[in-house]
């Protein structure tokens, strides 16, 4: 096939999600000519996400074309090295996006920073609990940057995404009403916290009776009309539900489509090319420098876009896969425990305890925008693990995302799965129940990784990415502990009935869990255990930056989007302030 070669640009950014949109904006602001390449189609929110059509649970829970089209590309999956990986033929456990704006077009808006200890898991655990405390095959490691260095970039991201919350700690002064465990902030949130629902109030009271400290989830669905750092106006969230996995008709969800791209698309130095699927980063003859990327456009033409800087800012899976397909960095081998690309793939664990009240009804359909009440008493290293035999933690929350009728109907344990008893219980409890959820960290392990599948291929004939992953004992123990804590809180609410759902024995790719896949191209300070340095620059090819969830060396309990956005601000700043002045290795 002939390849059409285009005129060079200063920078090409692959992906237009949370990371790609911010990096492109910042590079354009620095005066660079930037091309953004996106495999998905163009989105015009006022038409694509218009009322009432977005209030369609069937479509946005499962069937929407805003999610990745697996007929063209998927991953393969196995629980361990001994199994044959098989393709994920339909969406289940996670839902990556495939549109301009990426996965964030349907994100839940839960905008939490990671906690300071999350960035130093290895050092902190070794120091506090001894060198043998982490499981022997655990490959969790420090990020190479600490919370205090990241703080200004969290702050910047929050100014872009209009995060609403109440600070619990500003410059090490504690404030009531906020999260007492959060890392020190340089200032208050840009928007006020969400209101507390009656369900959140019940949870908060129960938590307080047990000595825990509840606070409102930081949320990136606007708690008031807001003009952001890029002068974009975002509307106030109406709490109309149809939120998680749905796009927002009000523009109240901060996302690339509302907070960044409308400003970026007006800039002369930026060109967005949707329906262009990058298949390779090209390198010069000695392999030390990238010369640009090759992509396949909507009409199937192979196009080469030369560029001085290449930023990979796609979903976790594609960042790793494009490095492997482009032969950048040494692929990870779990047997010899050498190599880096694909190493430290991880996910998040979770579960819930449901409470049922025969004598009380709620309005579970009112909500959304990650309105919720949490505690961090058992998150990260906020509690003593020495007698518990596991590392990591969880936030525990009651969140009201708008209980949609297909998916969010709780029934007490022991109710038949269908038939007249099921119907009675479903009708009775839809408005008389809610869940206490725990959303927990997941360490990285030697045998959990990403590589190229030896058998299955995508629509272009290129190998699919293969995931090898299972739940480990550390996470099972933590899950049991968190379930017990949730049950304690549940009992303090005095419900008529309770039910629990914990982590499965084996990880399964079938039911939806979270779109919080991370790792594979992790950041760090040691090139033998990381793909990118502290600025998310490739150790091997200095003009390639790899930004996204792929950079997390292991997963914290908090949702990843805020930290992905922060890393984009952090890496963009390093490119602007350091790399452009002196192109070369920054670390």
């Amino acid at each position: 096939m002939s390849i059409q070669k285009l005129k060079p640009v200063d920078a090409v950014v692959v992906g237009t999600g949370v990371a790609g949109s911010i990096i492109a904006m910042e590079l354009v602001n620095a005066g660079l000519k930037v091309v953004g390449l996106e495999r998905g189609r163009m989105i015009e929110p006022q038409h694509d996400f218009a009322m009432p059509y977005v209030h369609d649970e069937l479509k946005y829970d499962k069937h929407s074309d805003i999610f990745q089209d697996l007929s063209r590309e998927t991953i393969t999956f196995r629980n361990n090295l001994q199994q044959t990986a098989l393709p994920m033929r339909e969406l289940g456990s996670f839902k990556p996006g495939e549109i301009v704006g990426g996965t964030a077009a349907h994100w839940g808006c839960h905008a939490r920073r990671f906690l300071p200890d999350d960035f130093i898991v290895k050092t902190k655990t070794d120091e506090r609990y001894g060198k043998n405390f982490l499981p022997h095959d655990c490959t969790s490691q420090d990020w190479g940057v600490d919370y205090n260095e990241f703080e200004p970039y969290y702050d910047m991201f929050e100014q872009i995404y209009g995060v609403g919350g109440k600070a619990g700690n500003i410059n090490d002064v504690k404030f009531e009403g906020g999260n007492p465990f959060e890392g020190a902030r340089s200032r208050e949130f840009p928007n006020p916290a969400t209101l507390r629902t009656p369900m959140g109030e019940k949870f908060a009271k129960a938590c307080e009776s047990l000595g825990y400290t509840p606070f409102q989830n930081p949320a990136a669905a606007m708690t008031r009309a807001y003009v952001n750092l890029y002068k974009q106006m975002l509307g106030e969230c109406m709490r109309g539900g149809f939120c998680g996995s749905h796009p927002c008709s009000q523009g109240a969800k901060a996302s690339p489509l509302t907070a960044v791209l409308p400003a970026l698309l007006k800039r002369e130095n930026f060109e967005l090319r949707p329906l262009c699927n990058v298949i390779k980063i090209n390198k010069d003859s000695d392999g030390k420098r990238a010369t640009g990327v090759t992509y396949i456009d909507s009409q199937g033409r192979m196009v080469e876009q030369p560029a001085d800087i290449v930023v990979l800012a796609t979903y976790t899976f594609n960042n790793t896969r494009l490095l492997l397909l482009s032969d950048i960095g040494k692929p990870y081998d779990p047997v010899s425990n050498t190599g880096v690309v694909g190493r430290n793939y991880s996910y998040q664990t979770g579960g819930k305890v449901s409470v049922f009240f025969d004598d009380e009804q709620f309005n579970p359909f009112i909500g959304g925008g990650m309105i919720g009440t949490s505690i961090d008493d058992f998150n990260s290293d906020n509690f003593d693990h020495s007698q518990l035999g596991f590392v990591g933690g969880s936030y525990i929350a009651v969140q009201t995302n708008g209980a949609t009728p297909i998916k969010t109907k709780l029934i007490p344990p022991g109710t038949p799965r269908w038939g007249s008893e099921w119907k009675k219980a479903t009708a009775h409890y839809y408005r008389r129940s809610f869940s206490i959820t725990y959303h927990a960290s997941c360490q990285s392990y030697r045998g959990q990784y990403l590589d190229l599948d030896p058998t299955y291929r995508d629509a272009n004939g290129l190998p699919l990415l293969r995931m090898t992953f299972d739940w480990q004992e550390n996470e099972q123990k933590m899950s049991a502990f968190m379930r017990e804590k949730c049950e304690g809180i549940a009992k303090a609410m005095n419900p008529s009935k309770m039910g629990a759902k914990a982590v499965e024995k084996k990880y399964t790719i079938v039911p939806y869990q979270s779109t919080h896949n991370i790792g594979g191209a992790v950041m760090g300070s040691d090139p033998t255990t990381s793909v990118v340095n502290r600025y998310l620059q490739s150790w091997d090819v200095h003009n390639v930056f790899v930004v996204g969830g792929s950079a997390f060396p292991q997963n914290a309990a908090n949702p990843p989007t805020e930290t992905i956005g922060m890393l984009a601000c952090w890496s963009a700043d390093a490119i602007k302030e350091m790399y452009l002045k002196k192109p070369g290795a920054l670390a």
Binding site: E90, I406, T426, V510
Partner: protein
């Protein structure tokens, strides 16, 4: 059980399949003192419409071989599409019923239908062309969807599923002011279909102006 011809023009299902599904979904979500069941909600028609959608032919699924069985954790690995699963499984189940009871599934008494459905669910009934459990799980998933999805997809007729729950459908602009208010919000449900038909009033942002109801119990 005599079959009443439907008012719908079906796109995929044939008459024995419609009769089978009308009977099966009536057992899964029965009509009772709480109100209409899945058959009355037009769930059979919903399934028909789903089977001719992109989903019904797995248009967005990965469909390249090799096709191996895999573990339960590896998820759906059948080479059959939903269209093919329904066609093969209904035929196989009817054959099973003819052999066991001398009549098709839809002519069985309710108790016998329940036993057959339980046999499919547990896998104790073996179908020659498709996994009985795979079929049952799909049938139950689609039945639940058809009972609770927006009526624009052909099921949830008269919003009976939403009425059963007290779910008001498309949201109202009044929710934001109600978020921290424990007062019960009880409204006549409004669907996307209602709005398309001009049967609902909307505010300037396209949110519904709900008609509030008082419930006896």
């Amino acid at each position: 059980m005599p079959h009443t011809p439907s008012a719908h023009a079906y796109s995929y299902l044939n008459l024995p399949e419609i009769a089978f599904l009308d009977a099966a979904v009536s057992r899964l979500i029965p009509q009772d003192e709480l109100g209409p069941g899945a058959k009355e909600a037009d769930v059979t028609y919903y399934i028909d419409q789903q089977l001719v959608s992109v989903w019904g032919t797995h248009g967005r699924n990965y469909r390249q071989g090799p096709w191996l069985e895999g573990t339960p954790q590896q998820g759906f690995q059948s080479r059959l599409t939903p269209q093919e699963i329904y066609r093969a499984a209904i035929r196989d189940t009817n054959e099973y019923c003819l052999k066991q009871f001398n009549v098709r599934f839809d002519f069985l008494k309710e108790e016998a239908q329940l036993e057959v459905l339980k046999g499919l669910e547990s896998g104790s009934i073996l179908l020659p062309h498709v996994s009985a459990k795979l079929f049952f799980d799909l049938l139950w998933k689609n039945t639940e969807e058809g009972f609770f999805a927006d009526p624009l997809y052909g099921g949830n007729r008269d919003k009976v599923g939403w009425r059963l729950l007290g779910f008001p459908g498309v949201a109202s602009g009044a929710y934001a002011a109600h978020i921290d208010n424990p007062t019960l919000y009880q409204a006549e449900p409004v669907s996307i279909l209602d709005i398309k038909k001009g049967q609902a009033s909307l505010d300037a942002q396209g949110y519904v102006k709900h008609v509030m109801i008082r419930k006896g119990t």
